[in-house]
Symmetry: C2
């Protein structure tokens, strides 16, 4: 009677595991799991007797069947090759993000128990010309191979759900800021960097124009929403299982203003503005604002304003 | 210097091959091919010294690389497991419609020549609630595994095109009527049956309500559009390569009226109306009308009225 978390060693995965442990028995609708299995290329950093860690590659043939066994109440599929690397290494990205997702869905199907299956997708499925506010019915036209593989994963999770193979929930996550730690291969990595680095007294670069709108969420808000995604009744979501998770719409310029207000003028002065074509091309293809009435009605939540997001990071990691 | 046609033994494939032979040197933009290779589980019925036939399974590992070799000017990927069978046999459908498409794209990529790649998709990618007229930006929410696999194929063709691996063109075909021959596994098979059978003096069934709107095209119009899809400049289509091919919006009831006008009251009387839930569920999830301003501006065409479609069939196959 366990919950499986692929990518359980990662930024979100490890936080989701901690949040699940805290929510167990408290959060309505959350399956009453006995244990959590982290599945990742790296061991899970969460130390708790209820958490075990399986190190391996979700896309390796045969591996997924060992991961999702009978008695699995739910699966979080968070393991992924992020956007920068997926663009640089096409085959690696497709193998992990498409084949890995399919292998896990097949393993879930093979249990015959239709476990809940939460898939982390991304606003990177969108591209091309975009309306000011993205409706739920906007066609994914990804401008990156990462977005393309995520969009295919969404279709798989939906079809597996329609057929009753899994009870799927696709969460298109906003860009998450502020990520602690080091920059990563995601094209959106700068969005955390321009807050995190200056608050640590380190220089950083804004590679996109100031007027670029970003759709953002704090780690806490996203993790809370991922726990909620496992807890909510599938029938309440309806037959189509893809949700644009709530976020806040902020321009890059407004982020720098929040940095100045929360971190001071010296921190703000550490951010230079040198355009980087590779990053701008990917990030500017993502939409800046969404109609999230339905997910909000389903109980998903979002941050207040962006100053609060910066303060959340500063209070936890800087002081 | 050849064109490859997968599904070349099929209904559309064999017609596309004949149309290509006729259009060569006449149709502006059409690559000046020397030969055509049909690839299908069955041998190609077209007898012409320029046409050769390779019998095999496009989803068989290693086979696609033999199919798309250096010097391939263009690929039509028409081989597919149709909607009825894909719903009944999930694994077969995914293997052919998803893995087969991917294998061909990989083979095309391996040539390093970015050949034109025309992919036959379908309005079956759509599902759920639909606006009266479908815009180009409507999200695919397939209500069948056939539609899901086609939607994934569309994403692959677009990403391979964006990366310069192929020069793709995705054609979402309307339902084609009147297909000569026998009923097939497609859920839309009745749409041809209710015209074809009565014109041959045979009884037929309408399994969906009369008010069901269908998005239809004659074989001639679709084949002409598929030839055009190979001929049109990729740059004219723009970065997103998916097109809803023009069709005509007709209700099932209006189809029966056309039958009565063109085939007579006796023919009309041969159609009974017994609802079939399995068929209705799939077909009623498909949209009935589309905004096709852009494809029309790109030179794609459609039939006049539905009476003409019925006459086209009667004149070619009944008399
Ligand atoms: N953080 C964001 O802003 C954001 C936004 C949208 C979507 N997402 C998605 O959320 C999920 C988690 O993202 P994150 O921010 O925690 O990233 P992360 O890189 O910190 O975590 C991903 C984890 O997946 C693991 N992994 C990669 N390939 C693997 C494989 N083949 N087999 C097993 N494990 C593998 C990595 O080791 C890593 O621990 C990803 O699916 C990501 O695409 C994140
Ligand atoms: N006819 C329509 O109304 C319609 C509508 C929308 C889309 N389409 C699409 O158009 C394409 C052609 O359809 P059609 O009407 O000619 O169907 P068809 O069944 O007559 O032709 C499909 C051909 O593919 C071949 N095939 C199937 N699996 C194969 C495999 N694994 N390897 C090699 N060949 C294989 C079959 O032998 C057949 O000859 C298909 O992709 C179909 O999905 C058709």
């Amino acid at each position: 009677m366990r919950i499986v978390v692929t990518g359980g060693a990662g930024f979100l995965g490890s936080r989701v595991i901690r949040a699940l442990l805290a929510a167990r028995g408290r959060k309505e609708g959350l399956p009453a799991f006995e244990s959590i299995l982290s599945v990742d290329l790296a061991p899970c950093p969460v130390e708790d007797p209820r958490v075990s860690s399986l190190v391996g590659d979700v896309a390796e043939p045969g591996f997924a069947a060992r991961v999702v066994e009978a008695g699995t109440l739910g699966v979080y599929h968070l393991a992924a090759v992020l956007s920068g690397q997926s663009e640089a290494e096409f085959d690696v990205g497709m193998r992990v993000n498409l084949d890995g997702t399919r292998a896990l869905l097949e393993a879930a199907r093979a249990t015959g128990e239709a476990p809940r299956f939460v898939f982390a997708s991304s606003v990177a499925v969108f591209g091309g010309e975009m309306p000011e506010v993205v409706p739920e019915t906007l066609a994914p036209m990804p401008a990156s191979s990462y977005g393309a593989a995520k969009a295919m994963g969404e279709l798989l999770v939906n079809d597996y759900s329609r057929r009753g193979f899994v009870d799927g929930r696709v969460c298109r996550l906003p860009t998450i800021v502020v990520r602690p730690g080091k920059p990563n291969s995601a094209a959106s990595s700068f969005a955390s960097g321009i807050i995190r680095e200056p608050l640590a007294g380190v220089a950083s670069n804004l590679p996109v124009p100031r007027e670029t709108r970003l759709w953002l969420s704090s780690p806490d808000a996203v993790v809370g929403n991922l726990v909620h995604a496992m807890a909510v009744e599938g029938a309440r979501i309806g037959p189509w299982r893809t949700l644009n998770l709530p976020g806040v719409c902020v321009t890059a310029g407004a982020m720098l203003e929040s940095l100045a207000r929360v971190g001071g003028a010296a921190a703000r002065a550490l951010v230079r503005e040198e355009p980087e074509e590779r990053v701008a091309r990917i990030v500017c293809s993502w939409p800046g604002d969404f109609d999230v009435a339905r997910p909000l009605a389903l109980g998903f939540t979002r941050d207040g304003d962006f100053d609060g997001v910066v303060r959340q990071y500063r209070d936890e990691f800087v002081r």
